[in-house]
């Protein structure tokens, strides 16, 4: 009888081409390689220099999301892309995909979007797969019970050429989320609370498995929000066991298995969850029922408080002092006093249709406060079409927000969608690092509901005040 295994160990073992030894790392087979314009050009150059070909075009999919414009006239109307180097990078991806035979969902493709949003939409993200991308938020796909992690550009080249990676086996980390989230408290609030608890390096060297009643109760989109920010806790990957919710999501997706292949896949997928009695290297527990909407106040995602709470007073801690100076906020002050200049709803963390519905439900019948600039950027063109069919774009526009084409946009400001120096941004994205959204920008991470409520009031606001009233 074989020993009880975690889901991570099962997926890992199924992909060992050559097992790890004392002297060499394992050779791991990759089932799906997603790629985009920013972290791939130097990898394609490497293949050219070495005279190598793309090994598995059928397991490789490219799109463009980071450097792409979000203004309709630039995406569809032929208006020039403002940043010349971004335009060049996009052209380079088109050239590389044509030269090497990579399927590209390009600028005007109706399936284009943020790489971590379109994988699940297309149904190429599936339980038990190994999935990589030159992007740290590849952890998102772990919501399906895939082993999905971000890689660097050298590794992108390795996968292009060999469909394999050299990897050391990670340790396992169970995050047990008991109880259920209460009304107005979202998976974004949960993952921010988890990062606050374990710290921004608490998951280093580990693969997280999120477990427990609150996780089981979540939709796939909600699970993706949780797994997305595993990297913000230092973990390269986060996983959630596949279940009926997972299978129902995948059943009608364009590239999910069909017919007999679907039945065979279900049999494989049902065997993936962690066995009873399997041991994790590390475990933490968190009570979902006790959580409130959360918001960050500092310059890393672990610096987080309840929206109704106050900034802690940790004067003398250099990390805290530097964050207060950069953020222009005061120890002990209610976070609800923090001003708001910009609100961003979007990103691979919170750019899916349920996120836009949540923001719209708060905004409906309200106006964005005077002086606040609100930008709503759907995570994909599919999300955009769905939102427009439901009239969500009209709710955003009549509230005074801008409605754009899909992309990473203001999450990292590579495409020119930036927050100004010293401005406060309540953002549904994943990183509040110094300068992340623009030079000198001050980012407060929050849920779509909190972002929308903060846009209406012009200061950081608990969305439950508006949802209940």
């Amino acid at each position: 009888m074989s020993a009880a295994k975690t889901m991570f160990e099962k997926v890992w073992q199924a992909h060992e081409v050559v097992p790890e030894t004392a002297d060499t790392p394992a050779v791991i087979f990759i089932d799906l390689h997603l790629t985009h314009e920013v972290t791939s050009p130097q990898a394609f150059s490497l293949l050219r220099e070495r005279g190598l070909r793309l090994r598995r075009p059928d397991l490789t999919l490219a799109t463009m999301d980071h450097a792409t414009p979000t203004r309709t006239e630039q995406v569809f109307g032929g208006a020039p892309i403002t940043i010349e180097s971004a335009a060049k990078q996009i052209r380079q991806l088109e050239l590389n995909c044509a030269d090497f035979g990579v399927e590209l969902l390009g600028m005007q493709d109706e399936r284009r979007g943020i790489v971590h949003i379109i994988g699940p939409e297309l149904g190429v993200t599936q339980p038990g797969k190994t999935i990589v991308c030159g992007d740290s938020h590849t952890s998102t796909h772990g919501a399906f019970g895939a082993l999905a992690f971000g890689i660097g550009t050298t590794e992108v080249g390795h996968v292009l050429a060999t469909q394999c990676l050299l990897q050391k086996k990670a340790k396992t980390f169970a995050v047990e989320v008991d109880g259920l989230l209460t009304a107005g408290v979202t998976p974004k609030d949960l993952i921010l609370a988890i990062i606050g608890k374990v710290g921004v390096s608490g998951g280093t060297g580990h693969v997280i498995e999120y477990r427990g009643a609150a996780i089981r109760a979540m939709s796939m989109e909600e699970r993706m929000t949780v797994c997305n920010m595993s990297i913000e806790a230092g973990a390269r990957a986060g996983m959630i066991a596949p279940d009926e919710t997972t299978f129902a999501y995948l059943a009608d997706k364009p590239r999910s298995p069909k017919g007999a292949a679907w039945e065979a896949a279900l049999t494989r997928w049902r065997a993936l969850p962690t066995d009873a009695g399997a041991v994790f290297d590390k475990t933490v527990q968190i009570d979902a029922a006790a959580l409130e909407p959360m918001v960050t106040y500092g310059t890393n995602p672990g610096m987080v408080v309840p929206v109704s709470g106050s900034i802690p007073d940790r004067r003398g801690d250099p990390v805290f002092d530097a964050a207060m100076k950069y953020m222009g906020l005061n120890p002990g002050e209610p976070i609800g006093n923090a001003p708001v200049n910009v609100v961003f709803v979007g990103s691979c963390t919170n750019g899916r249709i349920s996120d836009l519905r949540a923001a719209a439900s708060v905004l409906r019948g309200h106006k964005v406060a005077q002086g606040v600039h609100m930008l709503v950027v759907p995570g994909s063109q599919e999300v955009k079409r769905q939102a427009e069919s439901e009239g969500l774009h009209e709710i955003f526009r009549s509230a005074g927000a801008e409605w754009r084409e899909s992309g990473c946009s203001m999450c990292l400001g590579m495409n020119g969608d930036t927050v100004g120096k010293g401005e406060y941004s309540v953002s549904t994205s994943n990183r509040n690092f110094e300068g992340r959204q623009g030079v000198g920008a001050r980012t407060l991470l929050a849920s779509p509901q909190t972002a929308a409520a903060s846009a209406i009031r012009g200061r950081v606001t608990d969305p439950r005040e508006l949802l209940n009233g």
Partner: protein
């Protein structure tokens, strides 16, 4: 490139959680090559709004010139997977980064480019922070860090990564040599 020993004075940047957005801000990632990124290393800490070097930033001080070893605060390299971070550090002239914790993707990316990630214990780290500009020696063969007037300290390094760094072995070449095993895996699983 083969690496065996690195001898240098240190540059100390004591901030905790130096993330890859600080090492190289996102707006510089629209490049399609690896070259020249050293000019943008730590750009938002290093230059003012007009692009002028800030005299109080450590890399702009004369004593930092020629230093090859960066001592960072705890947990360096967290955040984005951008390999531009080690490319920028190497292009600037750094050969090693020392901290108590080094984020996973940044550590992998560094090893693949010949930037040596060195994880040390709290006491050694505290000494390094307190002695900026110390002349240190990193010996890769014995995986030891030698500090003036102190016992040498061992640091953990993956044996395969060390072998590759010391012998100039390219990991892609190693993977390509496994082609038969990969083919066998593909045909076995119909993958």
């Amino acid at each position: 490139m083969k690496i065996s020993t690195i001898r240098s004075r240190t540059v100390v940047m004591p901030s905790t959680n130096i993330d890859t957005d600080q090492i190289i801000p996102g707006r510089f990632l629209t490049t399609t090559t690896k070259e020249g990124l050293g000019a943008q290393l730590f750009a938002d800490w290093r230059y003012d709004a007009a692009g002028k070097a800030k005299p109080d930033f450590i890399l702009n001080k004369p004593e930092s010139a020629g230093c090859r070893v960066l001592v960072a605060g705890r947990n360096v390299g967290c955040g984005s997977s951008r390999e531009h971070a080690p490319w920028a550090l190497l292009d600037y002239g750094f050969q090693a980064v020392i901290s108590t914790e080094i984020a996973d993707i940044f550590r992998y990316n560094s090893l693949k480019n010949g930037l040596l990630p060195v994880v040390v214990d709290d006491a050694t780290h505290a000494w390094l922070l307190a002695n900026p500009g110390a002349e240190v020696e990193i010996d890769l063969d014995s995986a030891t860090l030698k500090l003036p007037g102190r016992e040498p300290v061992r640091f953990p390094i993956d044996p395969f990564a060390r072998y590759c760094l010391m012998n100039g072995v390219d990991e892609l070449g190693f993977l390509l040599s496994k082609d038969a095993a990969i083919k066998q895996y593909e045909s076995r699983l119909g993958a």
